[in-house]
């Protein structure tokens, strides 16, 4: 059994949070390296584990786009080191404040690079979570009352590949009849039969799920049912009101307590609602000591970097104007390395069946 997927998500999102606390490229690179090392040592050979590469590519694309925008549109950073001057396209008066082309300064580029790198790191951390934890297994860890929602998402996820296969098949059929199969029109014509097919399959699946006992419920006294509804609805209202209070200026006093009470009521409602569900779980992922350690290592990185950003903002946000070479602040860097802990705690265990997997 692998590690609880929730632990991986907590770890990755903590690294992501840490990334938002700094623009120091050396620290960001260290964060990326940490996540990459853990992914490489801990991921399994399941199909979703390959998504890391896709996320890395996406992150690179984001970085590039950020740089291109900085070059083409300029930025408000006052810079003195002009690298190149692009021809500037004069814009009419109403487009004041927007500049196309013009001077490209080193400061602009470096600023865009730092900023883009931060976003890229965040994306890569999400990618690490995706490739380390099976997203559908995470859904299975939802509380019983949210089970129906989890199933809906799992079904939707397995339907996507079916839809793609349907589109390909129908486009081939259109070609057989010598009709246009590319472009918007072709896609529109294929769309209706694809939707029809998806609908039919959904009905068949619903019948199958019904016949296999989906939605069997235990008898719950009406009193408990009504309490559940009241708690859940009241709790959600409380959460809304509390959030509103926190965000407005006048509600500073009542905002937080209302939010907390609402949250507690909603959670209690969910817990009570879980009583109706008969379901048991097959081989549930256990939240064990390793899961605690993995989640804690991530949380420690996030907490320490937040602290560092507070104590030593200069090191975590190296200056752009004037240009200075970023230095590696020692103890925040050591804190980032804490994130490597999972690589030693939770290397992917190879189950005996997967080893002799036929090619």
């Amino acid at each position: 059994m692998g590690l609880h997927p929730g632990a991986w998500w907590l770890w990755s999102l903590s690294l992501g949070t840490a990334a938002t606390r700094t623009t120091n490229p050396l620290l960001l690179a260290l964060l990326i390296a940490t996540s990459a090392y853990v992914v490489v040592t801990c991921r399994s050979d399941a199909p979703w584990a390959r998504s890391y590469t896709a996320f890395v590519k996406l992150a690179l694309a984001v970085l590039l786009i950020r740089l291109v925008f900085a070059v083409a549109l300029g930025s408000p950073i006052p810079g003195t080191h002009v690298i190149v001057t692009l021809p500037e396209i004069p814009l009419p008066d109403w487009a004041q404040g927007i500049r196309l082309g013009g001077k490209v300064t080193a400061e602009t580029l470096v600023y865009a690079l730092y900023d883009g790198l931060r976003l890229a790191t965040l994306l890569i951390c999400v990618g690490a979570a995706n490739s380390l934890a099976n997203p559908t297994r995470l859904l299975k860890s939802l509380p019983g009352a949210l089970y129906e929602m989890g199933v809906a998402v799992v079904v939707a996820l397995t339907y996507a590949p079916h839809l793609i296969a349907d589109v390909q098949r129908l486009r081939a059929a259109r070609r057989l009849r010598g009709r246009p199969h590319t472009g918007i029109r072709g896609l529109l014509h294929v769309g209706l039969p694809v939707l029809e097919g998806a609908l039919e399959r959904s009905v068949a699946l619903a019948a199958s799920m019904d016949a296999r006992g989906y939605g069997r419920t235990a008898d719950v006294p009406p009193r408990v049912r009504r309490t559940t509804t009241a708690l859940t609805l009241g709790g959600l209202l409380g959460v809304c009101a509390g959030t509103y209070g926190l965000l407005t200026a006048e509600g500073g006093t009542y905002g937080l307590p209302v939010l907390l009470i609402g949250l507690a009521a909603a959670l209690a409602g969910l817990r009570l609602g879980g009583r109706r569900a008969l379901r048991t779980r097959y081989r549930p992922d256990r939240w064990d000591a390793r899961a605690w350690l993995v989640a804690a290592s991530g949380a420690a990185v996030a907490a320490l970097l937040t602290l560092a950003a507070d104590r030593d903002p200069a090191a975590l946000h190296p200056g752009v104007v004037p240009l200075v070479a970023p230095t590696l602040p020692l103890w925040p860097a050591a804190a980032v390395l804490l994130g490597l802990l999972p690589a030693f705690l939770a290397p992917a265990p190879r189950s005996p069946a997967t080893r002799k997997e036929p090619s």
Partner: protein, 561 residues
């Protein structure tokens, strides 16, 4: 175990009950086969067992259905989930989760079984169905037979006392079908599970049945009896029964083995009558006005009539005949798709008027070959030279149909093929005489839809006609009509290539059989030569009368008369 008491089902808006007067009981531990032509309500009857009819489908059920003592009127399908397991034709629409192990556990999770029990049963079921090596595999990557086995396993884990299967093998190749049937046999023998199963391909399943429940025609009351009794009167029957009826064997043999033991006389008789001519080309037989076999059906097939000059026929003639001597020529063809060698160094020539059956297990490259011939897939290397237009009827004929009515479908087909307006409609009227213009293609039966798709493809006057798995979901009557139709087309000079799992169809129709394995041609020759030597592709008549080379009952009947 399963008990129907004077049950009738009427769907909303239907003028008459789909099934009525159903009154029978399936005893515990028996495998009962449900047979009957298409559209007699087999699926409705099966659905009534699991409670999906009427709770899920709507409609009115009169009478009473009880399963293991539970009345389906008061129990919803989900409350019957622990006593009835239901498996349909398409395993992919049955799966809720994404890996084998989770799928096996799903039903038990819904029932709320204890984790230790679930773990033990999953392991037992993996062993029982031979799925242990596949436990972590994503379901989408399994073969058809494996998927069907997982589907059966997924309803077995809650230990139901009855299993209901709706055509579990119709989408499978012969070997995969045997895999699934062997599992069912084992369940009945070892676990005492009661099985109620509907299946069109009787030649595959009849020998496993303890009893047969026959629905002779829509609305008629079903008849339950021993397989031999029912087969003597049934409108649908496998070739072995047909041969038994022809030779007047009593009781009727149901297995190839039984029939072989009785067939000594028949073999001798055939040898005397037909002594020096073992079997000539199928061409001679094709010229017969009508296949003799189909006469025995309650609904005679629609005769296509004499090939008198007809509008579309003239038109086809009027176009200059293709210069090539071949309907298609394939040289050193290789196709690589997604890093998989789907076809490698294939050499073929197909002559006009020839009917070729391409056979082989699922994934052997049959569909790829057809798609390459029609030009949907480009060869990676080698060359495909069609002699004229090529038309393909895909595995799912519905994919070819877009319009709301048959008439609109025909109009667009004419436009696409740049044929004279009315060409397609004339073809449809000829192939499907009693179809109204405003029928929605979705309301047609499986066989009618196939024929409509065929008419649309024929509008473009292809000299080479390709069909991918044409008999999937067709009953014997619809299959006989298809055979007549294709023979007629071949007589008019169309070359026909069929990719099929149906060995009986290939025996009936094909002049030549090509066997594919892993993308390579492993046998190519006259039907009789190729199938006689193959244990899984030999039709029943061949197996019974070996070493003589007979393929179909029609041939035997003709030789005897």
């Amino acid at each position: 175990m399963i008990r129907f008491e004077n049950v009738s089902v009427t769907y909303d808006g239907a003028p008459e009950p789909t099934i009525q007067g159903v009154d029978f009981e399936v005893p515990e531990g028996e495998l009962v086969l449900l047979v009957g032509p298409s559209g007699v309500g087999k699926s409705t009857l099966l659905g009534a067992v699991s409670g999906l009819v009427p709770h899920f489908t709507g409609g009115t059920l009169r009478g009473r259905v009880t399963v293991a003592g539970r009345d389906t009127r008061t129990h919803k399908p989900r409350e019957l989930a622990d006593v009835v397991g239901t498996v349909g034709q398409d395993p992919l629409s049955h799966f809720v989760t994404d890996t084998v192990e989770d799928e096996l556990a799903y039903g038990m999770e819904s029932l709320g079984l204890a984790p230790e029990v679930m773990r033990r049963r999953v392991e037992e079921t993996l062993d029982l169905l031979g799925l242990a090596d596949l436990r972590d595999r994503p379901l989408a990557t399994l073969s058809g037979g494996q998927q069907q086995r997982v589907a059966i396993g997924s309803v077995l884990t809650p230990h139901p006392s009855a299993l209901v299967l709706d055509e579990p093998t119709s989408a499978l190749d012969p070997a995969a079908a045997e895999e699934v049937l062997a599992v069912l046999q084992r369940l009945v023998h070892d676990l005492g599970t009661t099985v109620l199963m509907a299946e069109h391909r009787l030649e595959r399943v009849i020998q496993y049945a303890d009893q047969v429940l026959m629905l002779p025609s829509p609305g008629a009351a079903p008849v339950l009896g021993t397989p031999a009794e029912i087969m003597a009167v049934s409108p649908v029957y496998p070739p072995v029964v047909d041969l038994g009826r022809l030779a007047a064997w009593s009781p009727l043999p149901l297995t190839v083995r039984d029939a072989r033991r009785r067939a000594a006389d028949l073999r001798q008789q055939l040898e005397q009558r037909d002594g020096n001519a073992p079997l000539k080309g199928r061409g001679e037989l094709r010229d017969q006005p009508q296949t003799t076999r189909t006469r025995h059906h309650t609904t005679p097939p629609t005769p296509l009539g004499e090939p008198t000059p007809r509008r579309w026929f003239q038109r086809r003639r009027a176009t200059p005949t293709p210069e090539s001597l071949y309907a298609a020529e394939v040289k050193a063809l290789s196709v690589t798709r997604d890093h998989i060698q789907a076809l490698s160094s294939i050499n073929l020539t197909i002559t006009p008027g020839e009917t070729v059956a391409v056979m082989g297990r699922n994934g052997a490259g049959k569909s790829t070959l057809l798609n390459t011939l029609v030009g949907l897939i480009n060869p990676t290397s080698g060359k495909v030279t069609p002699g004229g237009a090529v038309g393909l009827v895909p595995q799912e004929p519905r994919d070819l149909l877009y319009a709301d009515t048959v008439a609109a479908e025909c109009t667009t087909a004419d436009a696409e093929a740049s044929a004279a307006p009315g060409t397609c409609r004339a073809l449809v009227s000829e192939l499907l005489p009693d179809i109204a213009d405003d029928t929605h293609p979705r309301d047609l039966s499986e066989g009618q839809r196939l024929t409509l798709a065929l008419a649309i493809v024929l509008t473009a006057r292809p000299s080479l006609l390709l069909l991918d798995e044409p008999t999937r979901g067709l009953d014997y009557a619809a299959k006989a009509r298809l055979v007549t139709l294709l023979r007629d087309l071949a007589a008019r000079g169309h070359a026909i290539v069929l990719a099929t799992h149906d060995v009986e169809l290939a025996a009936e129709l094909a002049d030549r059989v090509i066997l594919l394995a892993e993308g390579e041609v492993i046998a190519d020759g006259p039907t009789a030569d190729v199938v006689v030597s193959s244990p899984s592709f030999a039709p029943q008549v061949t197996k019974i009368l070996a070493p003589q080379k007979w393929l179909t009952v029609a041939q035997v009947r003709q030789a005897l008369s």
